[in-house]
């Protein structure tokens, strides 16, 4: 059934998107078709399999300390998972730092379970044969905020600093190709090939930086989190590599997430 749907949508895209010589389109019909596609695919999202895996991992005793993550404080108190994802990135006093969800999970895996940053950062992104534990865990945590409004806080000075620094990084052009995030993500209705680039400076589009992550990517059948997306963006920008779960990435995430505040998070997404 899905196969027929996909074929139908591809035909629709080919018919509507097709090119209009010389004219620049203001409302991109291709983007609308991809949105429809995503909505249908989200009905039975393989991300749910990773949600289930993440929940199991959360409750399982693991690591040198043989402890579960059930005492992990995601900002609402130890072990409180429901609603925590949409309240991140946020400041955590125990580390005196703003952390996004995955950085916080990594922190809990280190402090509660005894894993080291080095081993978690070695191969932090999914491949065809392996999904790293933090990816399943962040999928579980994110799913527990399904249907809730994004509300990344700006009450602590370090949260406001993270936003300001994230914004600086967002607009910083460098690298071999002179790209910044803004090169692709600060204008309306632009796409790279057929991939729409939402304008993250605008609230109603910034939600697209949050919605869809973590996301099941059908290309390769892998689960990816936003940490993967940011790393790959910098790669495509021809920059050097940002550190996994680093402050830089938490700051960037603070900028785009705060821009999306007020919009509803639909939970883990699905992607081409």
């Amino acid at each position: 059934m899905k196969h027929a749907l996909v074929l139908g949508l591809i035909a629709a895209i080919a018919a509507t998107a097709a090119w209009l010589p010389a004219a620049a389109q203001t409302a991109d019909p291709t983007a609308a078709e991809f949105d429809k596609f995503r909505e249908i695919m989200e009905q039975d999202n393989p991300a749910e399999l990773f949600e289930m895996k993440g929940e199991e991992l959360w409750r399982t005793r693991r690591g040198p300390k043989n402890a579960s993550l059930e005492q992990c404080d995601l900002g609402l108190g130890p072990g409180v998972v429901k609603g925590a994802y949409v309240l991140m990135p946020r400041y955590f006093a125990d580390v005196d730092r703003v952390m996004d969800a995955e950085a916080r999970i990594v922190h809990c895996m280190i402090t509660l379970q005894g894993f080291t940053y080095a081993e978690l950062a070695k191969q932090p992104f999914s491949s065809l044969t392996r999904t790293p534990e933090p990816v399943s865990l962040v999928t579980y945590v994110a799913a527990q905020s399904r249907g809730m409004k994004v509300a990344a806080p700006q009450s602590h000075p370090k949260e406001r600093a993270a936003y300001a620094m994230g914004k600086e990084i967002f607009f910083y052009r460098a690298g071999a190709y002179d790209f910044s995030c803004a090169s692709c993500h600060s204008v309306d209705d632009k796409r790279i090939r057929t991939q729409p680039m939402p304008n993250f400076t605008k609230p109603e589009q910034a939600i697209r930086a949050v919605q869809g992550w973590p996301g099941y990517r059908m290309t390769g059948g892998v689960m990816h989190s936003v940490q993967w997306r940011l790393e790959d963006c910098f790669r495509q920008q021809r920059f050097p590599e940002p550190g996994y779960a680093s402050e830089t990435l938490s700051a960037l995430l603070t900028y785009v997430t705060v821009n999306a505040n007020g919009h509803v998070y639909r939970g883990p997404g699905i992607k081409r």
Binding site: A14, A23, K167, Y172, A174, D178, F179, T194, Q236
Partner: protein
């Protein structure tokens, strides 16, 4: 009377205090943070985080630099263009199409050849519907502008260094940074400027 003076003194002191406390330089802090958090990988070294003159001018002015700054830097960028020694700017448009389609190169996961990545941002030939819209359409480039030597020179120059013509353009400087070879740029120029190219049908 005394209360009023004390009040005025307090206000003055408060004003002095706020002037004395510097505004936090978030930009400097962000750049320092990036220096700490990024690391070299593959061919992508940490030097790539440093702004060159063009990036610095565009970053400072949010891509809208003062005219005199733009004029000066554009002139410098233009002067640095290496034009083909044989004076010929048109190569083979069939190769040009392949180069335009190829988005590889210059990232930390690349080890081999570099493509133009042109379709990532531009509509170009009539048979490719998977084109980006970050840049303007190049369809019928030569047909619309004429096939003269001056337009050939503009096309080649733009591919070599887009910033020589528009300082804060989002288009990479494919020749200037050594991404594309002279032959590749000639082939791309032919894709746009050869009357026989499908782009100009």
């Amino acid at each position: 009377m005394r209360l009023a003076s004390a009040g005025r003194l307090a206000v003055a002191a408060a004003l002095l205090a706020s002037c004395a406390t510097p505004q936090r330089d978030y930009r400097a802090d962000a750049l320092a943070m990036m220096q700490r958090d990024f690391h070299a990988k593959g061919i992508a070294g940490m030097d790539r985080l440093n702004e060159d003159s063009v990036q610095a001018a565009c970053n400072k002015a949010k891509d809208n630099p003062p005219q005199e700054v733009a004029d000066k830097l554009q002139k410098e960028q233009l002067a640095a263009i290496k034009w083909p020694a044989d004076g010929k700017l048109l190569g083979d448009w069939k190769s040009g199409e392949r180069i335009a389609q190829d988005g590889r190169g210059m990232t930390w996961s690349d080890t081999g050849g570099v493509g133009g990545s042109c379709y990532n941002c531009h509509q170009i030939g009539p048979r490719e519907s998977s084109f980006g819209t970050v840049g303007p359409s190049l369809y019928q480039f030569g047909k619309l502008r004429g096939y003269g030597a001056d337009i050939q020179r503009y096309a080649y120059g733009k591919i070599y260094n887009a910033k020589a013509y528009n300082l804060c353009s989002q288009m990479p400087r494919m020749g200037h940074v050594g991404a594309l070879t002279e032959q590749q740029m000639k082939d791309l120029t032919a894709l746009l400027m050869d009357p026989a190219s499908p782009v100009n049908q």
